[in-house]
Amino acid sequence: MKRISISPPVAALILAVILFVLSGLLPNGFGSDMDVARAQATNIVRLAVFLGVIAAGQTLVIISGSEGIDLSAGSVVTLTAILAYIIVNGVDSRVLPALLIALAVGALVGLVNGVGITFLKISPFVMTLGMSGVVTGAIIVLTHGNVTGKVSPLMTRLIARPLSPALQIPNAIIIWILFGLLLWLLLERTAFGKNLFAIGVNRVTARLSGVNVTAMNLATYALAGALAGFGGFLLVGNTGVVHLQLGQPFLFPSIAAVAVGGTLLSGGKGSYWGTMAGAIVLTLITSLLTTMQMPESVRRMVLGGTLLVLISIYGRQRALRQ
């Protein structure tokens, strides 16, 4: 018997389109007004960019296997957003240094995660959870609760505004597409990507086939931290304001986006396309629930229920009998 199989990223995208079309039929939906529909779709994708970029690092550590996960991503996003905000302080020429510092600080936190996990044999879940606390603590020490700074016109121009008035697509989306291409290249066309999948499937066989597992692990966590740092930079460029809880709400959704995108949480199999689709689906569901003006309680329950249905469709693990 041949089973029809749709790859998870495609399934997630189809689901997103169906949900979006259905949302048009709501009382306050876009109805048959195509312009409004396009504007709404663009807006949802624009919101998904930040979750998508933050979930990129998560995708890498999850593919690397051995219970890989990065629970420090949320606080790294907050930290780098605040750093960028303080450093730029309204001056265009400081945007590039701010971006580099955001990436470096993210990579440093990721590297500490990697060291703890690789050398001290702390499980990724608690190591990154602990680091999340350390980073949050550092933010409080650093800012004493209030931050003074400013984004610069250049940042807003590059991230929040459209490329040209004729093409009404915010730059953030274009950045995301380029970002997705780069990650695809990284995962599918480089030695790093091949090794990453190899250590995700089985660390012992990977080591015996000549992969430097230790270096790979360190590099993966450092890179994941840097990507979260990039997410923080983008986020502050878009919103223009920072607060101490900026990144935390993205943490668990970033894991959910990876899972919905069909990446195995046990590692060794997955794609960034899937995560992008997952980020769009999750953002769509969240904004739908907001437009429908559901109370917070119902919103949480529907979100949980939908997530459960989504992972029931293709998140199942192998049966024991196989």
Partner: protein, 321 residues
């Protein structure tokens, strides 16, 4: 000679490090707070620690079986909101005990839902319980949209002030839980639990009922989360739908500090109980050490990371030597 003895000790007693940490933190706490062992102080500490201890016990059993439960905090929240809205400040103690029983059923049911999806439908534990944590948290908020409600003062004061034989009530609860664990770990189910957590496929090959064993871990965890919710309700005396959420990750940290491997099959319940107490004492130490408020979060997190790293550091140096 010394080295191999250390090896044997940590292999046979995963909770060894937890014990060392616990003793160390108690000593530091005692220096900062000399009246720590006075009946009143001890009781007021233990009644605050008890909810997280109970939650950590359930989490420990799930983790032993190779899973993880992110929904425990939300289960506690449901129990808290049910008790606070259905019993009320002027409710009778009898009504309270009825709803305590009802709360345990809620915990069993919530755990069974988790277990059904994870062990029967074979979904990944972390993301499944993350999804159900939203379901349960939403349900708690549905029951009690704004903090409020309460339980009879007599019940709250029974929890807060009972010190039979001059020992805190929490000690008796912990002793009871550990005794039950001692019994369970000696039964066939206890052996199955370690087998499933160690390697589920191998356990399946040797005719261990893997599905049922895993399912039961989530049911137990749901039950313990409900007990934790009951304890925290008696402690706070009022209802708040977000009361349990922050406890979830602490319960996992407690289990790992207690020496259990997050990958399953290694450890026990005594270690996690010590881990949970250690976490509470660390909080105490920080408030008594008069650390600048801005530094509190940072210092606490660093202490926890160091505590997690300590066994690894010891092993690293031992390998060099």
């Amino acid at each position: 000679m010394n080295q191999s003895r250390w090896d044997a000790l940590t292999a046979r007693q995963p909770a060894m490090f937890a014990l060392i940490l616990l003793v160390l933190s108690i000593v530091i706490n005692f220096i900062l707070q000399p009246n720590m062992f006075a009946r009143e102080t001890l009781n007021s500490n233990m009644r605050v620690f008890l909810p997280i201890i109970l939650m950590a016990v359930g989490q420990a059993i799930v983790i032993l079986g190779g899973g993880i439960d992110i929904s425990v905090g939300s289960i506690s929240s449901i129990v808290n909101t049910v008790l606070a809205t259905r019993v009320g400040l002027d409710g009778s103690p009898e009504r309270m005990w009825q709803f305590v029983f009802f709360s345990l059923l809620i915990g069993l049911l919530a755990g069974a839902i988790n277990g059904f999806f994870i062990s029967f439908l074979r979904l990944q534990p972390i993301i499944t319980t993350y999804a159900t944590s939203f379901l349960y948290a939403g349900f708690a908020l549905f029951i009690l949209p704004n903090p409020g409600g309460g339980i009879p003062a007599s019940v709250a004061s029974f929890y807060r002030n009972s010190t039979p034989l001059n020992l805190p009530l929490a000690f008796y609860v912990i002793a009871l839980v550990l005794l039950i664990w001692l019994y369970i770990s000696s039964t066939r189910y206890g052996k199955f639990l370690y087998a499933v957590g160690g390697k589920a496929e191998a356990a399946y090959e040797t005719a261990v009922p893997v599905t049922q064993t895993q399912f039961m871990t989530y049911v137990i965890s749901g039950l313990m989360a409900a007990l934790s919710g009951i304890a925290i309700t008696m402690l706070s005396g009022s209802g708040n739908a977000d009361i349990g959420g922050p406890m979830t990750l602490n319960s996992i940290t407690a289990v790992v500090i207690g020496g259990n491997a997050l990958s399953g099959g290694v450890g026990g319940v005594t270690g996690p109980v010590m881990g949970a107490i250690t976490l509470g004492i660390i909080q105490n130490i920080i408030s008594f050490a008069h650390i600048d408020t801005w530094w509190e979060t940072f210092v606490k997190a660093v202490i926890i990371v160091v505590a997690l790293a300590a066994p690894g550091v010891v092993n690293l140096f031992r390998r060099r030597a």
